[in-house]
Symmetry: C2
Subunit: 129 residues, 2 copies
DNA sequence: CGGGATCCGCACGGATACTG
DNA sequence: CAGTATCCGTGCGGATCCCG
């Protein structure tokens, strides 16, 4: 049928990715996004819209320039965020979620919220009787 | 007021956890759960119910004994999974999600699914034109 | 301001051997 | 089967200096 479209074939291919398999590309992708700084960057950008480098640096307390830059570069190359340079003096750089990044933002935000919401319960179970 | 109950004060405290802050306990918790092996273990247990050590080892292709054991111990001490030893010969050990673990499972499953569903798009953006 | 480049410690994580 | 113990490489991540 003519209705076996590219979209359908893509859906078929998608179903074949399995992060449980060591060699599957999605395993590497999962490793990438299962990262503290990735989660916090996406949460920050998702909540605040476009943000500048220094804003992110302040928001993500304790992050080093190296890790922040490294994280931003990785997210950019994976198409999750955009990097926009405005040639002011001094230069202004702002980061923003792409549509792809926004879709992930929903999930990582849930992860961060879970950590905050269940902190008490975890603490109670760590040093109990 | 007498209506300022312990439950209310606890709700207040919960709202104060902020993973953006370096010193906040939830930051450490976020770091813990933002882990590839944690995600995969929770996904496996969430999908298959109770599982034995060797089952997990097979399901999570490529994981070393050290990392698997380490991950299981951490999840156990945080109250996310239970460890049950049955004194057969040889001994049988099975792991299962707690209620707390189940609530996190929903989120990490979304993370894994996202990685698998959006793999194509990320790959397309990595080596573009 | 927004990084790049470099040095370096150390802890993360793999491999192997051994145990109850 | 389900680990524990040990050795060991390496890359994560912090600190520092420099640049446009």
């Amino acid at each position: 049928m003519a209705t076996t479209t590219a979209a359908q074939r893509r859906a078929q291919a998608k179903a074949e990715y399995d992060a449980f398999l060591a060699a599957c590309p999605s395993r590497q992708l999962l490793d990438r996004i299962s990262d503290k700084w990735v989660t916090l960057v996406l949460c920050a950008l998702g909540a605040g819209g476009a943000m500048r480098y220094s804003e992110l640096s302040r928001k993500l307390a304790g992050v080093s320039q190296k890790m922040l830059t490294q994280t931003l570069r990785a997210l950019e190359s994976d198409g999750l965020i955009t990097r926009t340079v405005t040639p002011t003096v001094p230069v202004t750089v702002s980061y923003e979620l792409t549509r792809l990044g926004s879709s992930l933002h929903l999930t990582v935000r849930a992860l961060k919220s879970w950590a905050e919401a269940n902190m008490d319960e975890v603490l109670a179970r760590r040093s109990p009787g």
